[in-house]
Structures are given as C-alpha cells and as structure tokens.
C-alpha cells in the first residue's frame, strides 16, 4: 500500500509542481493586471543589484559618444563652423520673432483672463535602462522612492509627455511609456477639441481612439492631455496627428499620433512630483 502511494507521489509530483507554479503565475497576473504592480522586497532587490551596472553602462556609452563627437569629427569642423555661423544669424532672427510673439501671447492671455498657473515641482532623472523584452515599452530611471518618486507620477521631457511611473524601488523606478500597448491617456486635439483615448501601439506610435466621425481632425494638429482620469494633468503635449482615416462606415475615425518625444533619443526626463495641481499650458 505504502509503495503504491510512493509511486503515485513520484508520478504526480512533477504534475503538482507544474500546476502550483502555473497557478502562482496566474494569481500574480490577475492581481497585477490593470494596475501597476508594487515591487515586493525580493524583486526590488534585483532591480537595485542591476542598477549600478546599468548606470555605469549608460555613463560610459555617453562618455564614448561625446569623445567621438568632440575629437573624431574635428575633420569637418571648418564646414560645421560656417554652417553654425549661418545658423546663428537665422536663430537671432527667429529669436526676435519669438520675443515679439511672446509679448503678443502674454497680451492675449491677459486679454482672455487666463489664469497664470504655478509650475509644478519636477525631478530630473536619467534613463539607465530599457525594457528587457521587445514586447513592452518601459524605461528605468535613476530616481526612486528615496527621491520622492511614487507609483503613478507623471514623467515628461522637454518636448512633451513620456509616461508614468509603474513601480519604484529605493533608488530606481520604471516608467511605462505612452507608446506601450497598456498605456491609455485621455487626450484632446488642440484645435478641433475632439476628444479621444491615446493608446500606445509600439513602433514609437500611438492611436487616438474613439474619436467621433463628426469631428474634423486634421494632420499636424497637436494632441494634449485632457486632465480627465486624474493621473495626467491637463495641457501636457502628447504628440502630433500624422494620419487620419475616415472609413465610410463605423462611428469613429482612425487617428494616428506621433509622440512629441523621440523615445529613441531620450536620455533624461522629469518626474512631476505633484500631480494634484494643473500645469502651465
């Protein structure tokens, strides 16, 4: 009887282990689907272990690239100098135009009784790693909970919206980019005021979904965050409309959005530490 039980145990031990492991995975997935997961101590520890190496790698890569830019490309310095002189003249002219526009803008803002909003506190962070798989679009930055970064905080760059924090450890955080499949942001077209959901579709592109067919969205229009949903403050630049497709049927139109931020060249970003206040538009 005992030997029969032992044979049964041996035969099904592996099957039981497989079921336990797969069930554990399913429980983990179901508990973290739809909401960013909080890193428990153990996985967070691995993130901390790898982060110094990632920092060293990105630091050295930048140093090498700067060295190449400074010394190897000296050959083209003369032509570049000439080009830069012309550029300075152009920029000075553009600067004068912009100064004039800023004055006009300020005047119009006052005229329309626009409230001057206070900028939010931001934390600069360097990108030290990217997603380990090809399927997802996340980045790792060198600022963590010790610097005040919390899950859900919004991340921006000079050009516009980058994404939001999905998990943090002591010194590093992971950011879900707006181009990831799991990213959904309520957005508005700046000119037509058409509203939709900006969803990532990888390939460094997004779609503005659920835009009514009646709306006249045009290529080149900027998409900004609407502020609905509470996570993203109103007025952050998401991207530009690069394609509109209206089919003869259906209730919505297809709008393709190219993000304002070039994620391939992104090196630094800013974490908005306080998301309760609206930002400057």
């Amino acid at each position: 009887m005992n030997s029969k039980n032992a044979t049964f145990g041996k035969k099904y031990r592996l099957l039981i282990l497989a079921l336990v492991l797969l069930l554990t995975s399913f429980v983990m997935i179901s508990s973290s689907t739809g909401q960013p997961f909080r890193l428990p101590l153990f996985p967070g520890l691995f993130m901390e272990i790898l982060s110094p190496f990632q920092r060293v790698y990105y630091g050295s890569a930048r140093a090498v690239r700067d060295l190449v830019r400074r010394y190897v490309f000296l050959v083209h310095l003369h032509q570049e100098n000439e080009k830069l002189r012309k550029l300075v003249v152009d920029l000075e002219r553009k600067n004068a135009e912009l100064a004039e526009m800023a004055i006009a803008n300020e005047r119009l803002r006052r005229f329309l009784n626009f409230k001057k909003e206070i900028p939010k506190p931001t934390l600069p962070a360097e990108i030290i790693g990217k997603d380990a798989s090809s399927w997802f679009r996340t980045i790792t930055v060198n600022k963590g909970s010790i610097d005040g970064v919390r899950k859900g905080m919004v991340v921006v760059a000079g050009a516009g919206l980058v994404g939001h924090v999905i998990n943090t450890s002591r010194d590093v955080s992971r950011i879900l980019l707006i181009t990831d499949y799991n990213s959904s942001i309520d957005g508005i077209c700046q000119i037509s005021r058409a509203r939709g959901i900006v969803q990532g579709k990888s390939q460094d592109l997004c779609d503005l979904n659920y835009v009514s067919r009646q709306e006249n969205v045009s290529v080149g229009e900027r998409i900004i965050t609407s502020g609905l949903g509470g996570r993203f403050p109103k007025g952050l630049v998401v991207g530009t409309v690069t394609g509109v497709e209206k089919k003869p049927y259906g209730v919505s139109q297809k709008v393709e959005v190219t993000p304002a931020v070039d994620f391939k060249k992104l090196e630094e970003a800013f974490v908005i530490l306080d998301t309760d206040q609206p930002v400057n538009q």
């Binding site: 990105y58 380990a132 790792t140």
Partner: protein, 163 residues
C-alpha cells in the same frame, strides 16, 4: 545550490544585456529563454522548474507591466522542453538552436495571446517584424554561444560539463 546561483547570476547578466546593450538594436534576443531551454534539457525537473519560474519572475521585474507574465511563459516553456528531452537527441549545436527556435516561437505565440486578452490595443502588422520574427531569429542565432558560455561557466564553477 551552486547551480541555482549560476543560473540566477546568468539571468541577471542576460537582463543587464537586454536592458542596456541590446536595447540600442531594433530587435533584442531573449537570453533568459535560452537559459530556460538549457534548464529543460540538462536539469532535474523540480529544481529546473523552480529556476525557470524564478527566472521568469526576474524578467517580470525588468520587463512588461504585469508581474507573473513572464513567470508563466517561462515555466510553460520549461515543461515543453523537458517533455521533449527523452524523445529527441539534442547533441549538436544545430539541434539545440532548432529547439530554441521552437521554444521562442511557442513563447511568442503565448505572449501574443496573453496580450490579446490583457491589453486593449491590438498588435498591428508593422510590429510583427520587430516583435515576432526579429527576436525569434536573433534568439536562435545567439543560442549556441549562450549554451557554450554557460557550459564553460559551469565547468569552471562545478568542474563538470552540461551533458
């Protein structure tokens, strides 16, 4: 225990490479999957399955948005590889690379299906090359080097070969 440490360390090195050096390339290989295939081919089912699960969890820390996503796919790949081990010969590098090709294709299909159920967006045809064909081929190409490197490491640490 030494084995587990070697695999976890190799997993960390693989993830370091995937998050840094390979992130500059348009497609990146799944080195962790190669480790899981290695576990399925050469290790005891219990320790191997647990290590595959742990390597999947480790990948979840550095990739994706759902904890348990890669833990599930890697564990399933381990059991699939383990189930073929007694039935086929995997002595040559070509055969091992072929097995990696099958394993990575199966995992890709699993990820694709899981994403279809858990994500609102659908994967579009332009992404197919970057997400599916590229990583499958790249992983298959680097697999023989990974096998050789892991074998050498294990010989150095444990003073024994993989087979």
């Amino acid at each position: 225990m030494k084995n587990a440490i070697i695999y976890l360390a190799a997993g960390l090195v693989a993830l370091f490479l995937q998050t840094t050096i390979f992130s500059h390339l348009p497609v990146k290989p799944d080195l962790v999957l190669v480790l899981v295939v290695c576990l399925g081919l050469f290790h005891t089912p219990f320790a191997g399955a647990l290590l595959a699960f742990l390597l999947g969890c480790l990948m979840d820390v550095f990739a994706g948005t759902t904890l348990g996503f890669f833990a599930l796919t890697k564990t399933l790949v381990f059991f699939l590889v383990y189930s073929t081990r007694g039935r086929l010969y995997f002595d040559s590098h070509l055969a091992k690379a072929g097995l990696v090709l099958i394993a990575v294709s199966i995992e890709t299909t699993m990820i694709f299906l899981l994403l279809r159920f858990t994500s609102d967006s659908s994967i579009l045809p332009p992404s197919v090359g970057r997400l599916i064909i590229g990583p499958i081929l790249f992983t298959t190409l680097v697999a023989p080097f990974c096998f050789a490197l892991l074998k050498r490491t294990r010989i150095l640490v444990l003073s024994e070969g993989l087979e």
